[in-house]
């Protein structure tokens, strides 16, 4: 819930406001101005001190030679050396401080840029994203802007420091010896003429590099999001070729770019190395002739070397600046489009519109003059329901999207509660409209996050604390029930594994439910559930569970570790189980590899296999060894692998090998022996399955059962669900479990949910918001019949008269109760009216439902 914090919203809002001055129009230097100026000033101050600390050692150097050594003054030597050392230490410390400050300023600017650009990108019209691959947006935000941030950090510190140092050294050199100084400084004008020319070439290459990288990331994004199509067509080669071609192009551009960059450095280096040569010639000559003392020459040469450092930094800065501005400009240019609608009204609260819809002469044209909608007229009073039907491509979704402000219509009017939709802000829209799209999107997070998504967005900028305005648990549960995802969420809850430290109270309650359940449904469900019983072999549990008959409390007794647990291995020996289990493991390995050996790692193939898809390769090799080697000659590692396989064998699920009855006997014997031993040796290691104890290693469901389900048959699951729900209601725990279920993580893009579940969540999310106008674009297309009928009947009863509804409908058997039906064809409304009228007319709707000509 913390994510809906008011403070955060305000912060986001303020960033959003900044976006309104169009981040894409900002120049790179403008980021320097908006960076933290106090920090920049501090940086400047530090730099000035550093410059002084850098010059001091030079003077000391000269004095050490000229005064201390020459006249044998030990005292002076110590003094000057001490000063020298102090200056070096201070310079180093300050240098670090400078880097730290620059880093701080630069990273902050980068973060601001990334935020502002991202906020801007999200507001761009849908059309923009039709031609823009996600990969491109990623590379723009993540890589291309980085150098710009870097530049902002360096922008004041580096040039000022370098130039000041340069001037200081130059002044010092002139003071030392004007002639030599003139000679050594004479090279820099030459560099200044040459470098920009080279840099220009580098910039050109850089521009091409940015563009090509952009296409490349777009290409990668496209291939990854369409990877099912690539697998389906086996078109690896085609895709590889396309990708390779682009990489090759990028490779060439990068080489050229780097060569130019290096040449800038090389030219610079060359001239810098040239100047000592001049000094040696001239300075050496003067010294030999006795017109220059040796100390002065030494000082001059080392000062002259030092001048190279700031110069190098200056050139590097120049290169960073050039690179950053090319990348920055290229990136900002690409996203330089305007949102089609304002985000928020400037000086008023969002409208509370009444739910009437008036469409007048609406048309929508896309690039290339294609007319998607043409001359649409319709009107709905508040609470009226309209179904849009027609062949695919007839424009029904487009019409719904135009009304929902997802597309900006190009002609005519859409009036929502009397207001023109184009002129409304996004905030007005979300306050009054609920839109369920054809392909709803589920975001990473919990079910709860996803259900509250629309409400949170609506309330986001209101100054209301969450507790007042956000839907209550009861509201959420109601929405779950309405959309028919309640049982699914309950299942998620039931499949949760509780944590001892957090849930002891709940665990105690569930043990109570367990008794209740057994009493009431034990007999009825005996066919579907295998209850834990100390004297019976459990065919739907692992061999490990059958042996230990308890759940591990310490790491070394978990299923994965038992095969390497020395205590357990000794026990297996003692119980005469090692050999039979190894034999079983070998048989499992052989049979599974025989069946699955050549299949791809698809989930469906491995659901009934003791070997996981990841392990298959390893066991394939082991199977080959097994064919050649006797069991007792196998390496310890191989034996562990086989034992591990045997211990996870579940005869009820892994059908490739039968369970030998003699092994069953042995295991039941072993179970008793194990309990005896471990109770003595390490009583805390496991909690035995006991009807009075909660089992923390297992799900809530298995705990209620005190057993395992035998079947995945939907009939049986339904019966089980119903009985569990009944017991939970009686024990007043239903809501608690559903609440736990709502914490289920849906995975990235909701990949842990089915298509139907995702669609139900999307509907629940909008129902919870209870908008005045509901637009559903084939919102129930992925649902099974029952769920679809349930939602339709809700629309027919609960929402009728409450919310105005525009529903794009694909299936024609659910439209009878709509107030109006509009049949669309080629972007126009062919006919419109109540169901019975249209059928009686035997027009287009009749044709759609019964075919062109009936055969009678």
């Amino acid at each position: 819930m913390a994510s809906y914090d008011y403070i955060k919203n305000v912060e986001e809002l303020s960033v959003m406001r900044k976006t309104e001055t169009a981040v894409v129009k900002r120049s790179l230097p403008s980021w320097i101005r908006s960076s933290n100026l106090k920090l920049q000033a501090l940086l400047l101050l530090v730099i000035l001190i550093t410059v002084f600390a850098r010059v001091l050692p030079l003077e000391m150097q000269k004095r050490i030679v000229n005064e201390a050594i020459r006249f044998g003054e030990i005292q002076l030597l110590f003094l000057y050396c001490g000063l020298y050392l102090a200056a070096v230490v201070i310079a180093t410390g300050l240098k670090y401080l400078i880097s730290a400050l620059q880093n701080l300023i630069g990273e902050r600017a980068l973060a601001d840029m990334r935020k502002a650009l991202y906020h801007h990108i999200l507001t761009l019209p849908l059309n923009f994203f039709r031609k823009t691959q996600p990969g491109l947006v990623v590379s723009s935000l993540v890589t291309e802007l980085a150098s710009a941030g870097n530049f902002v950090g360096m922008s004041i510190g580096v040039p000022v420091a370098s130039i000041l140092t340069l001037l200081a050294f130059a002044g010092y050199l002139i003071w030392l010896n004007p002639l030599l100084a003139g000679i050594s400084l004479s090279i820099y004008p030459m560099v200044l003429i040459l470098l920009p020319r080279l840099q220009q070439q580098a910039n050109k290459a850089n521009k091409r590099r940015v563009d090509t990288t952009r296409t490349l990331s777009g290409k990668i994004g496209e291939a990854i999001s369409g990877v099912h199509e690539i697998h389906g067509n086996g078109s690896y080669r085609i895709e590889n070729r396309r990708y390779d071609r682009m990489v090759d192009k990028l490779y060439k551009i990068r080489i050229v770019w780097n060569l130019y960059k290096f040449s800038v450095k090389s030219v610079n280096n060359f001239f810098n190395n040239l100047s000592p040569f001049l000094i040696f010639i001239v300075g050496g000559y003067l010294s030999i002739k006795g017109r220059l003392d040796l100390g002065a020459l030494v000082a001059f040469i080392s000062a002259q070397e030092k001048i190279y450092d700031p110069w190098k930094e200056l050139i590097a800065f120049y290169q960073v600046y050039q690179d950053a501005s090319v990348r920055y400009k290229r990136t900002m240019e690409y996203f330089d489009e305007l949102p089609e609608h304002t985000l928020e009204p400037d000086d008023r609260e969002p409208y509370e519109l009444e739910g009437s819809i008036e469409v007048k002469d609406l048309s929508f044209q896309v690039e290339g003059g294609i007319q998607l909608l043409d001359g649409i007229n319709l009107s709905l009073t508040p609470g009226e329901q309209l179904a849009l039907v027609g062949f695919s491509g007839s424009g029904k979704s487009t019409l719904a999207q135009c009304v929902g402000q997802l597309y900006k219509y190009t002609g005519g009017h859409v009036l929502l509660g009397g207001e023109e939709v184009t002129d409304l802000s996004k905030k007005d829209m979300i306050h009054n409209i609920g839109f369920v799209s054809q392909t709803p999107f589920t975001f990473e997070g919990t079910i709860k996050d996803n259900i509250l998504y629309s409400c949170a967005a609506k309330l986001g900028s209101d100054e209301i604390s969450e507790s007042d305005a956000m839907p209550s648990l009861d509201d959420m549960i109601e929405a779950l029930q309405q959309t028919g995802i309640f049982v699914d969420v309950l299942r998620f809850g039931l499949n949760t594994i509780l944590v001892y430290d957090e849930h002891q109270d709940l665990a105690a309650k569930i043990v109570r439910v367990r008794d209740h359940f057994k009493r009431e449904f034990g007999e009825e469900l005996a066919d579907y559930v295998e209850f834990f019983a100390e004297d019976n072999y459990l065919y739907h549990s692992t061999i490990a569970a059958n042996l230990t008959f308890g759940s591990p409390n310490i790491e070394s007794f978990t299923l994965q570790n038992l095969a390497v647990n020395d205590y357990f291995l000794r026990f297996l020996d003692k119980a005469d189980l090692t050999r039979p289990l190894l034999t079983l493991g070998a048989e499992l390995c052989r049979q599974t590899v025989d069946i699955l050996g050549d299949l791809p790692p698809e989930k469906v193939f491995f659901e009934q296999s003791p070997i996981t898809a990841d392990e298959l390769g390893e066991y394939k090799i082991l199977a080959v060894r097994l064919a050649k080697t006797k069991l007792h000659r196998l390496s310890p590692d191989d034996r562990t692998a086989l034992l591990r396989l045997a211990l996870r064998f579940v005869p009820g699920r892994h059908k490739m090998v039968g369970m030998p009855s003699i092994l069953e006997e042995l295991i039941l014997e072993g179970r008793a022996l194990f309990k005896e031993n471990i109770s003595k040796d390490n009583p805390g290691a496991l909690t035995f399955y006991q009807a009075s104890e909660y089992i923390y290693s297992q799900t809530i469901l298995d705990n209620i059962f005190f057993g395992k389900t035998k079947t995945i048959n939907p009939q049986a699951e339904e019966k089980i669900d119903q009985s569990i729900i009944q017991v939970l209601i009686e024990e007043d725990l239903l809501e608690t479990i559903v609440e736990i279920g709502m914490e289920f993580q849906v995975g990235s893009k909701g990949d842990r949910l089915s298509g139907g579940q995702r669609q139900k969540l999307a509907i629940a999310r909008v129902f919870l918001k209870a908008p005045r106008v509901l637009i559903m674009d084939e919102a129930t297309s992925a649902l099974d019949n029952k769920s679809q009928a349930r939602i339709q009947s809700l629309l027919d009863t609960r929402w009728k008269g409450q919310s105005t509804l525009i529903a794009v409908v694909h299936r024609l058997d659910i439209i009878k109760k709509y107030d109006k039906i509009a049949v669309m064809k080629a972007g126009r409304i062919g006919e419109m009216g109540p169901y019975d009228d249209l059928i009686a007319k035997k027009g287009m709707l009749y044709e759609l439902i019964y075919g062109k000509k009936t055969s009678s």
Partner: protein, 150 residues
């Protein structure tokens, strides 16, 4: 199971592995009208009844028993059920889902022609049987035969 009669040994192993066994009690639905469940059943024991429901009520359309394979067509593609199948006695079935079947078929593409051939043959012989005892059909029903012409 003429579907599986001509499989290679390796393919047969994979398909056999992918079948799971399910039990049903009298009154349980194996599948329901209008659902798109995508499941095929091979009946090991017991009897099931085909039922269709429309506006005039529910009527039974015959029974299936041991050794019969139902739902070959459903494995091949999306299909909403026109009938329900309801267990009359205790039943034990082998069950295959469309997802598994299609994924497995992708691994053995050489089977695809065989599968299609079996399907075509089944549809043809179905209609042939219908035509042979067409005396039992009403006059207007006779005009509507011709599924094998699609």
């Amino acid at each position: 199971m003429d579907f599986f009669s001509a499989l290679s040994l390796q393919a047969l192993k994979v398909f056999a592995y992918l079948f799971t066994r399910e039990m049903f009690k009298p009154g349980d639905y194996l599948f329901r009208q209008d659902d798109n469940d995508g499941i095929a059943f091979y009946i090991l024991s017991g009897t099931a009844e085909v039922v269709r429901k429309d506006e005039s009520g529910e009527f039974s359309l015959g029974k299936y028993g041991e050794g019969e394979f139902l739902g070959g067509l459903v494995l091949l593609g999306d299909m909403r059920r026109l009938f329900s199948l309801k267990a009359v006695t205790d039943m034990s079935c082998l069950v295959m889902t469309r997802e598994k079947f299609i994924k497995a078929l992708e691994q053995f593409p050489e089977l695809i022609p065989k599968v299609l051939e079996t399907m075509v043959d089944r549809i043809r012989s179905w209609e042939e049987r219908l035509l042979i005892d067409q005396d039992a059909l009403c006059a207007s029903c006779k005009k509507k035969v011709g599924v094998s012409l699609v």
